[in-house]
Amino acid sequence: MADLELNNISKRFGGVVALDRATFHCTAGEVHGLVGQNGAGKSTLVKILCGVVQCDGGEILLDGKRLNFGSPSDGIASGIGMVFQELSLIPDLTVAANIFFGHEPTGMLWGISRGALRQSTLALFERMGVEPIAPDAEVCDLPLAQRQMVEIAKVLARDPRVIIFDEAPSALGRKEVDWLLEYVRELAAEGRIVIYISHDLREVMQVSDTITVFRNGRNVGVRRVEEASTDELVSLILGRKASRLYSPRETDIGDEVAMEVRDLRGGVRLQGVSFKLRCGEILGIGGLTGQGQDELFRGLFGIQPIHGEVLISGRPVHIGSPGSALRQGIRLVLVPEDRATQGVVAAMSVAQNLSLAVLPRLQRWGLVARDRERVVVEEAIKRLSIVVADVNGPVMRLSGGNQQKVVLGKLLATKPRILMLYDSTRGVDVGTKAEIFQLLRQLVAGKGSSVLFYSTDVDELINMCDRVLVMRLGSIEAELSGEALTEENVIRASMGEAVKEGAYTRPPPVSQEVTSDRSS
C-alpha cells in the first residue's frame, strides 16, 4: 500500500466534472510529478488533498489512516502543506508573521514574541540555504519572486509530512529555480511525500522520480522517470500524438517600422534602450530578470514615467497613460505578468472581462448593447478556444491558462497594432501555449500588427521570435537573429559574454511538441 492514497475521488463544480473517480498514489522519500493540461484536474486534486475543496466522493489515506477534511486547517493539522500557485500570503502582515501564521512562538499572556518570531524566520531561511528576506518587511512591498520564496518558507515552517508544489517556481529567477529543484529532492530524501506540479515537462522530469499524468479528471498514466520520454508524456497529456509547437518563422519582414524607441531611460534600471519594431515582426526581449525589461514595458504602455523618444509609425508620441495612448489612437496593448491581479478583473464575469476594453464600441444610446457584446465575447471564445462553462460566471473560476486567454481575448478585441506580452505564458499549459503562439503568428501575418514579446523561457524566445534583443543592466546587450538566434547565444548575452556568430545551426526545438488543436 502506498504512503499516500487518493482513491476514487470525484468532484463537480456546477456542470463541469473536475475529477471522475480519480486515483493517485504516492510513496514517501521520492518526488512525484503531476502533469496535465489546465482543467485536467490536478489542481482540484491537490486542493482536495489539502482541504481547500471538499470532494463529492472517494477517500484519502495517509499512512493507512483515513483522513477527513472540512477546511484547510484540517489539512495543515494532518501535516499537509501546499505551496499555492497564486500564493496564500497575507499582504499586510510581515514576512515573519506570514511564515509562522497560526503557529507563532508565544510568550507571556498568549502574546506573540516578536523577537522569537524574527529569530525563527532567519533560522528558517538559513536552514533552507537561501538569502534571508527581511522578517519585518511587509509582504505587499515585496516583488513577486520574493513573495514566492516566502510562500515556500511558510509551508516548510510547519515541517509537513506531505508537501505539494503547485507551479512553485513560476516567478523565480534562474538561480532560485535551481535552488528549488535541488531542495525539492532534498525534502523528499528526508522521507517526506513530495508532489510537484508543473507545466514545464523538462523541469518535472528533472526533479521527479515518478510522474503521473492527468487528463479529463482521470489518472491516465504513471511512469518512472527513467522509463518515460517527453513524447510519451506529451501524448498522454493530450491524448493524441504530437506535432510542432511552434509554427515556422516568417523570414520575409519588410522594413516598415511600427514603433521606434530611442534612448529610453526610466525607473531605477532602464539605462538607455533603442530599437525598431518592424511591422509584422515578433520581436523578443530576453535577458535575466530585473535588467530593466519591466520598466521598458511599463514605460511603453504608459504606466511608468520614462524619458526618451518613442515614435509610432514615424510620429513622435508621448504616452502618459494607457488612456492617453487610446485617445491618441495608438493601438498598443500589454498582456501583463500577473494575470490574477493585473490582467482580469476578478470581480467580473468572463463576458464582462472580454468586452471590457471595447465598451465604447458596444454602446447604443449610452448603454451597453448586449447583442453587440455577445458578438465580441463569442468571437473571442472561438478565436482563442477558451474553455468556459458559463460566460456570465466569475472569471476566477477558469483555469490559469484560460484566464490568460481571457486577458488576451480582451486585448485582441481592440484590434491592436502593437501587442506587448510580458512573461504571459508563465504557468500556462502546453496546449494553451501552442494556441497562443499560433494566434500571435496569425496576428502578425497580415503585417498590420507587431508583437513585442518578453519571456524568461529562452526556448520560447528563440522559436517564437524573429529577432531577440537581450537586455542586460538596463540596455541592449545583443541583437540576435537568423543563425545567431540560438539558446546558447541568448544565455551568453544575458551574462555579458560574447555571442557566437553562426557557429551552430539552429538546433531543433528541445521542448515539448504539441498539437495546437485540443478537443479535450
Partner: protein, 340 residues
C-alpha cells in the same frame, strides 16, 4: 535533457542580478502613521494658546469623562473595520444599554452588579448575532449591522420610550467620583481600555483579525478560523458598545433610547481620522482613539474661536477629507516604491 545541463552550468557561474529588495530596505518608517498624533498636538497647542485655563486638571478630567463613551465606541468600530467590515449597530447597542440600565437597576450593589453583567452580556450577544449573520448568512456587514441597529434601537424604545429613568447613586459614586492615587477614575478606565487592546493585538487572535481584514481568503487557506475570528470580533464590538452605554448612562444619570445614534458615524470618522483604511488589515486602535479626541477638540476649537458650533461637522468633514488625501498619498508612494 543534455542542453538543459549545459544551460544550468553556464548560468550558475554568473552573478545573479535578479531584482528585488535586498536586505537593506527593511522597515519603512511610516511618517503617515504620525499624522493623527501631529494633528492632536497641533490642535491641543492651538486650544491652549487660545485659552490657557484649559490645561487645568478639572477641565482635563471633564473632557476625558465626556470623551470616554466615544473612545469605547471608536475602539469597537476600529476592531470591526480592521476585519474589513463596519458596525452600524453599535449605536443601537449603546441605546439599549442605557435603556436597560436606567429602568432596571436597583439601588443595591447586588442589583448594580447583576444588571451591569446582563448589559455586557446583551452587548456581546448582539455582537455575536452580527457575526453570525455576516459569516453564516454571508450578508455584507453594512447591511447586516444596519438591520440589527434598527432591531436594537427598537428594543431600546420598547424598554425606555422616552429619555429618563434613574441611575443608582451608588454606581455614580463608584465610577465617577473621587480619585484613585490622585488620578481620576476615568484615566484608569482609558488606560485599561488601551492595555486591553494592546494585549489582544499581541496574541494570535490579534494577528488573525488583521489577516482576515487583509485577505480573508488567504487567511482561510493559511488555516485561520475565519468565521470564528469574525464572530469574536463583532462580539467584542458589541461588548465595548455596551460598556460605552453604561458609562454614558452614568454620565447623564439617565437613559435615552436614541443615545447611540450620533456615535455611529462619528466612531467611523474617528477611525478614519486615525489613519485606518476601511478595507481593513491595516491601522491600529490607539490612532483611532486619537482620531476621536481630534474630532472632539475641533468642536472645542470652533467654540473658542467664537464661531457657532453648527459649523463643527463641516470642519470635521473637511479635515477628514484632508486626512484621507494624505493617507492616499502615503499609499501611492508606497506602491511606487514597491514597483522599483
Amino acid at each position: 535533457m543534455g542542453d538543459k545541463t549545459i544551460v544550468t552550468q553556464v548560468v550558475s557561474g554568473a552573478k545573479s542580478t535578479a531584482g528585488g529588495l535586498r536586505q537593506g530596505v527593511q522597515i519603512r518608517v511610516d511618517i503617515f502613521a504620525l499624522v493623527p498624533y501631529i494633528l492632536l498636538i497641533a490642535l491641543t497647542a492651538t486650544l491652549v494658546s487660545l485659552n490657557s485655563r484649559l490645561l487645568s486638571i478639572q477641565v482635563l478630567e471633564t473632557k476625558l469623562n465626556a470623551a470616554l463613551p466615544l473612545m469605547f465606541m471608536t475602539t469597537a468600530q476600529a476592531l470591526v473595520i480592521l476585519t474589513g467590515g463596519i458596525d452600524l449597530s453599535i449605536g443601537g447597542v449603546l441605546s439599549l444599554s442605557t435603556a436597560i440600565a436606567a429602568t432596571q437597576m436597583g439601588e443595591t450593589l447586588d442589583s448594580i452588579v447583576m444588571w451591569s453583567l446582563i448589559i455586557l452580556l446583551v452587548g456581546m450577544a448582539a455582537g455575536a448575532i452580527n457575526g453570525l449573520i455576516v459569516t453564516y448568512m454571508r450578508v455584507t456587514p453594512f447591511i447586516a449591522t444596519l438591520a440589527t441597529w434598527s432591531i436594537w434601537a427598537g428594543v431600546a424604545l420598547f424598554v425606555l420610550p422616552k429619555e429618563g429613568g434613574t441611575i443608582p447613586r451608588l454606581l455614580k459614586e463608584i465610577v465617577q467620583r473621587g480619585r484613585l492615587l490622585g488620578l481620576p477614575k476615568s484615566v484608569y478606565i482609558l488606560v485599561l481600555l488601551i492595555i486591553f487592546w494592546l494585549l489582544i493585538r499581541r496574541t494570535r487572535f490579534g494577528t488573525r483579525i488583521y489577516a482576515v481584514g487583509s485577505n480573508a481568503n488567504n487567511a482561510y487557506l493559511s488555516g485561520a478560523p475565519v468565521k470564528r475570528t469574525l464572530i469574536a470580533t463583532y462580539s467584542l464590538s458589541g461588548l465595548l458598545a455596551s460598556m460605552a452605554g453604561l458609562y454614558r448612562t452614568i454620565q447623564y444619570s439617565a437613559g435615552s433610547p436614541t443615545a447611540g445614534d450620533p456615535f455611529i458615524l462619528t466612531s467611523a470618522a474617528a477611525v478614519i481620522m486615525g489613519g485606518m483604511s476601511l478595507a481593513g488589515g491595516r491601522g491600529g486602535v490607539v490612532p483611532s482613539i486619537v482620531g476621536a479626541v481630534i474630532l472632539l477638540l475641533i468642536n472645542d476649537l470652533i467654540y473658542f474661536l467664537g464661531v457657532s458650533t453648527f459649523y463643527t461637522p463641516m470642519v470635521q468633514g473637511v479635515l477628514l477629507i484632508m486626512v484621507v488625501a494624505i493617507q492616499s498619498l502615503g499609499h501611492y508612494l508606497r506602491r511606487r516604491r514597491a514597483v522599483q
